[in-house]
Amino acid sequence: MKRYLSMLAATFFMLQAVQASESVKAYQNGTWAQLSKANLGEPLAVHFWGVTCAPCMAEMPQWGKFLSQNKQAKVIFVQVDDVPPEMVQKMLQRAKLQNANNFSVFQPFDDAMRYEVDPQWHGETPITILINKNGQWQRKTGPIQFAALKAWFLKQ
């Protein structure tokens, strides 16, 4: 019985991993234009983070908590380090963000990709781009103030 239960558990976790793996979409040159165009008319926060960035990793669980408490907030996460997808998944699961709207690069996050987001962004992480319903945007560098983020969404 124990053997069947452990097989069932293993299958469950494998399925969960596959599902999670499919939920992280590829981010490449041009993705930013598509994202911002597709989301015009509603407030959007796009959070850029990396698994090798310690301040990012410290903050990600707070993003998970924020989304669980603010289900209407539209947030997109973009992982910018060139690392194995399974490692991205692991970090997302730790932060309870595996079901969020996730993107990740599969090549170096180069100058063009950064420039497309903000010509003055030099690659520091984490950053969050807040885009209001009119398409006006601002860059927040460093860990976000979640109370201020909530207020920003409510104001839109």
Partner: protein
């Protein structure tokens, strides 16, 4: 994105004019406001098309994300790079026109550290003995390990890569230099202090600066010393040797209040024992000298370390990136008193472009300086040089450009001949002759 619109609509002559004005104003032209742009997302910026590069797979130089050169005085170019999870080396007898069959030194697949500020390190002694160092992530919590390897046959074969620190916490961003006597100086970001603090419940970010040296070509290293407990954990370190052959480090320190500004530090360890060890653990650790009060109070990973070079006069030249409240962009300053005081920061490049990755080289009292600017379509490398130890500078001029992924620009020299070493995905690795020192 006003600057993006400018680039799309202004003719080239106007852009040159803007650039010239920028130079005439000594780099203080049009600093960008900090972080909060509050501007309209415009269609024009979205119409800027970038080449859709296919993901380059494999361990060859064509797919490398970072390549580091070493040029011997006899003109032998050794190149080490990271690509496809491997660390590889090749050499060229014709200044990069052709390369030998690459030798794979190590392969860590996706665990290899290929962060935007990471690069493998190399030094070659006059006998052709090679010492290399690189970092990889050793566990699923992204703790890193620095490995080293040696070759005693000019790079045909290497020893098996081994850990610099056995059972360490996390070590990343090695930087090394060999002095005139062949002593290898190695510094890196070390997280033992931070991890110990966190284990005790004292929440702490950042890393520490560690240093060790070897007098046997890298076979063994003396016990390491933590020379500054408070540093950024995600920026490379710069290292140069002063006229006394002591290493001088430049790095992003963490100052009181969580301010991540640039520091330099002279490590004048004196070899007072028969093993070449300092008599006391901290004997020779110089004071932490702040290059400028940028006041970048932040908890971000900038992924953007500084460059340092020291002239024969002893003047220390530093270039760095900051997004501080006092200034934002890439800056240069120098010190003629071992870092006690620095000249006022001078901004490099066109503030309306994305200026990044400065690099410095000194030959005698000449200073050569390059950096990268991205204008939305291509990366352009700019060169400026000083014949008088950084007092006056030539007008900055573009010397290379490329679309797509590009590595940091690096400078090396063979005697008085100066070269730009630059890896780009579109054009491959290039060693460009850019001038001659007097």
């Amino acid at each position: 994105m006003k600057e993006a619109i400018l680039k799309l609509t202004y003719p080239a002559s106007c852009r040159i004019l803007i650039w010239t004005l920028c130079l005439l104003s000594d780099g203080t032209f049009a600093q960008m406001p900090e972080h909060d742009h509050s501007q309209m997302m415009d269609k024009a910026s979205h119409q800027m098309m970038h080449p859709q590069m296919e993901v380059c797979k494999g361990t060859s130089l064509e797919c490398a994300n970072a390549a580091t050169p070493f040029l011997t005085s006899a003109g032998q170019l050794f190149l080490i790079w990271t690509a496809g999870g491997a660390v590889s080396l090749s050499h060229s007898a014709d200044l990069g026109m052709t390369f030998s069959t690459p030798v794979e030194i190590a392969n860590h697949q996706k665990k290899l550290d290929v962060g935007s500020d990471a690069r493998p390190q190399i030094t070659v002694d006059p006998k052709g003995n090679i010492f290399i160092a690189y970092a990889f992530f050793k566990d699923s919590n992204w703790n890193a390990q620095i490995n080293t390897a040696r070759s005693t046959d000019s790079g045909k074969t290497f020893t098996q890569a081994q850990a610099l620190i056995q059972g360490g916490a996390s070590e990343r961003f090695p930087i090394l230099a060999a002095d005139a006597k062949g002593k290898i100086h190695l510094a890196w970001i070390d997280k033992r202090v931070v991890q110990a603090a966190n284990k005790q419940g004292n929440k702490k970010l950042g890393g520490s600066i560690a240093y060790a040296s070897s007098i046997d070509g890298g076979v063994s290293f003396q016990a390491e010393t933590i020379v500054n407990q408070e540093s950024c954990e995600c920026c490379r370190i710069g290292m140069a040797l002063n006229p006394q052959q002591f290493p001088v480090l430049a790095y992003r320190g963490i100052f009181p209040g969580g301010v991540r500004d640039q520091a330099t530090q002279v490590l004048s360890f004196k070899q007072q024992t028969s093993q070449g060890l300092p008599t006391k653990a901290n004997d020779g650790v110089g004071p932490i000298q702040r290059v400028a009060i940028d006041h970048w109070k932040t908890d971000v990973c900038p992924h953007h370390g500084p460059a340092i070079a020291i002239a024969d006069t002893g003047t220390t030249h530093v270039a760095w990136f900051t997004q501080g409240s006092a200034r934002q962009g890439v800056f240069y300053a120098n010190s003629n008193n071992e870092g006690k005081t620095y000249s006022p920061p001078r901004q490099l490049g066109n503030a309306n472009r994305n200026v990044a990755r400065p690099y410095l080289l000194t030959i005698g009292k000449e200073v050569w300086l390059v950096w990268k600017e991205f204008n939305g379509e291509k990366a352009i490398i700019y060169l400026q040089y000083s014949k008088d130890d950084g007092k006056t500078w030539s007008i900055a001029k573009p010397i290379a450009e490329a679309v797509g992924y590009t590595d940091h620009p690096l400078l090396i020299n063979q005697n008085k001949n100066v070269f730009l070493s630059w890896l780009t995905r579109a054009q491959g690795y290039q060693l460009l002759s850019i001038g001659q020192a007097e």
